[in-house]
């Protein structure tokens, strides 16, 4: 079994679930940023990986 220290060394971190944060589910904390993102994706779509492959 991996120790907590080993797990914390991984890129994907150990994240403790805190149910008190569930109050933010469905709540947009940063609406202006989300609107900017929506406009960018609407205008440009998502990047084409093949077109941009190295």
């Amino acid at each position: 079994m991996k120790s907590i220290l080993e797990l914390n060394d991984k890129k994907v971190p150990v994240v403790r679930v805190d149910k008190s944060l569930n109050k933010y589910s469905g709540v947009v904390l940063f609406p202006e940023k989300v609107e900017k993102a929506r406009q960018a994706f609407e205008k440009l779509g998502v990047p084409e990986l093949k077109k941009h492959s190295h």
Binding site: P13, D18, L21, L29, F30, K33, H54
Partner: protein, 148 residues
Amino acid sequence: MKLDRYELKSDDQLTTFDFLSEGTKGKIEKLIQFSAVNQDNLFNLAFGDRNALTGDIDDSIVTDNGDSEKVLATVVAAIYAFCDRFPEAWIYATGSTATRTRLYRMGINKYFEIAEADFEIFGQTQNEWERYRKGKDYQAFVIQRKKT
């Protein structure tokens, strides 16, 4: 490379994360949120400070708590955790001001080689996405976890 970072807590869905910044101005609670943007697999990433008095979340405040690298590393850790759960997600991020966006760019530049190994990284120009290039100015960034 292992970067020093804060302990993360999250909601059940791994879309809202919380951590405590500890620096020269004391302890400041920070919230990171990945919000769905209308279509499947499109998300916005934003983070800000939680005002201890009002409970309001503010992403425009300049905290200057002397731990910006550790905060950035913590946000990156949250991205890894989020992408582990939503591997197809495209994540959009921009600063609340041009200065803040430039700071994000500096952060990407600093760890670009590490980030590029794990993520597809694009910058937003006026009319298109282009593969991120160090030193170029962008309006925003979008990333996706590379397929293994």
